[in-house]
């Protein structure tokens, strides 16, 4: 083990982290938006579009992300050319498109059960109070949906970080791509230290994203109720003392 080499190579790997982070953030946000659309349409039980959406979700969930990356990388230019657009896509665009399409399906499988887990009585109560559909969603459904969906979304972010480690296979110079370049210059020396450094780097990224999700969970209504009940309990416990 050569710890000095690990410290020496760390900044070089860290320099490529922005590309990975960019891909993660863009595909997480756009994937979430797509999945919200997909979930909305799936919940409507459309006659013609419905089966197609189910097929889309099932396909995306049952094929490896690597093959989806390849399909988009090789297939998107062909598709665009057959539609009449003569565009050239970079590897990074292909990655982002593949990850967005994948997450659109994967996250909808998290959001749909979370939506269905909200009790029917809540919908009826909101309707009987005369809420408009948007108000109902924002004030009644969303606050109850978030704490159910957040742990799943947190896992999805971790998986997304894992999936971005594969983009070097289609030629993006991310952390793994950079490592390969350095190793090629080194005649493959210090491989163990290199990959250990990368593993630690990814671990760090995952820990940070896990913490972020935990932080978000702190703002959901469940935690608010918990905090309130704790506060009330402490008040109740003090009351007898004040009477005496």
């Amino acid at each position: 083990m050569n710890i000095g080499y690990m410290i020496e190579v760390f900044p070089k790997l860290l320099a490529t982290l922005p590309i990975t982070l960019l891909i993660i953030i863009v595909s997480a946000i756009l994937g979430l938006l797509l999945s919200i659309g997909v979930t909305y349409l799936r919940l409507k039980n459309l006659k013609i579009l419905g089966p197609f959406l189910e097929m889309y979700v099932s396909f995306m969930r049952s094929t490896p992300i690597l093959i989806q990356l390849f399909l988009v990388f090789y297939g998107l230019p062909v598709l665009m050319r057959s539609l009449g657009f003569n565009m050239d896509f970079g590897a990074i665009t292909s990655c982002i498109v593949a990850l967005i399409v994948y997450n659109g399906a994967y996250l909808s499988e998290i959001l749909r059960p979370a939506y269905l887990a909200v009790e029917k009585g809540q919908h009826e109560a909101a309707d009987s109070l005369g809420y408009t559909p948007f108000e109902k969603f924002r004030k009644v459904i969303l606050p109850q949906l978030t704490p159910i969906a957040l742990p799943g979304l947190g896992n999805a972010v971790v998986y997304l970080v894992h999936d971005t480690s594969l983009i070097f296979t289609i030629g993006v110079v991310d952390i793994m791509g950079q490592a390969k370049l350095i190793l090629a210059n080194n005649y493959g020396e210090n491989k163990i230290e290199m990959y250990l450094t990368i593993a630690l780097l990814y671990w760090l990224v995952c820990l940070v994203s896990d913490r972020t999700i935990k932080l978000l969970e702190h703002f959901t209504y469940l935690k608010k109720i918990e905090r309130k009940s704790k506060f009330n309990k402490s008040k109740v416990n003090k009351e007898p003392v004040s009477i005496q």
Binding site: S58, S62, V161, A199, W203
Partner: protein, 231 residues
């Protein structure tokens, strides 16, 4: 453009490697379940140093992608083996070790910590009254485990095990990077051979999809049968 002939031919060619991929996945899953049981025992009995080590390992394996771990193992395992065999004086060239063994080893370890969680959940899901009833009937510890806990825990764990099997099958697509031929590796080979990557990958994707659908249907059927057997 899309060549249907190559696509159909690709499906036939790739179907040949499906059995070996499945076999590899099942071997990995069984090894991971065994390791997971050991890990579960260690965590449950709070073995001093090991249980803390496993907590760190769990976080580490959750946080690092499989590709990185595979590359790391392919670099580290032969050297480690050389040191061990060298100190024992066994004439063995660790650099000539079959990559399949390293793939099996790596995936079993990464999967084992998650299997231990599944096993823990399954055992916890068995009603306490069942164990008390077994004690009341005078069952020994071993009898309680084999006749009461294990059959019920297996039903609870089975869907999760099948889910893990699908994860392994999908994860094995990385093995082509290390010259282990699975479905994706075969597709890549075929694509290079015919210079038509898109068709080959589409065929591979279709086979993965069908494989997952068939395995899910099979799992549901088996689970239903198992549940029926106890009522």
């Amino acid at each position: 453009m899309f060549d249907v002939g190559v696509f159909l031919n690709g499906i036939l060619e790739i179907l040949k490697v499906v059995p070996s991929t499945l076999l590899l996945a099942v071997i990995i899953l069984l090894l991971a379940i065994m390791l997971g049981s050991i890990i579960h025992l260690i965590v449950q009995h709070k073995v001093p140093v090991l249980s803390q080590l496993i907590v760190v390992l769990q976080s580490f394996l959750r946080g690092t992608p499989n590709v990185v771990l595979l590359y790391f193992m392919f670099a580290a395992l032969p050297e480690l083996l050389t040191i061990i065999t060298g100190s024992l004086g066994i004439p063995f060239d660790a650099n000539k070790i079959n990559p399949v063994f390293i793939v099996i080893f790596t995936f079993s370890i990464t999967l084992s910590v998650f299997q231990s969680e599944i096993i823990r959940g399954a055992i916890l899901s068995v009603d306490k009254g069942q164990i008390e009833a077994a004690h009341a009937l005078g069952y020994s510890f071993w009898q309680t485990f084999t006749k009461v806990i294990f059959p019920q825990a297996l039903i609870e764990a089975f869907p999760d095990f099948m889910n893990s099997l699908l994860l392994v099958i999908k994860g094995l697509s990385l093995a082509y990077l290390f010259t282990v031929m699975d479905i994706l590796g075969q597709a890549k080979l075929l694509g290079g051979y015919t210079q038509r990557y898109l068709e080959a990958f589409a065929a591979a994707a279709l086979i993965y999809w069908l494989l997952c659908i068939v395995l899910t249907k099979f799992a549901n059927k088996v689970e239903f049968k198992m549940r029926e057997g106890f009522h």
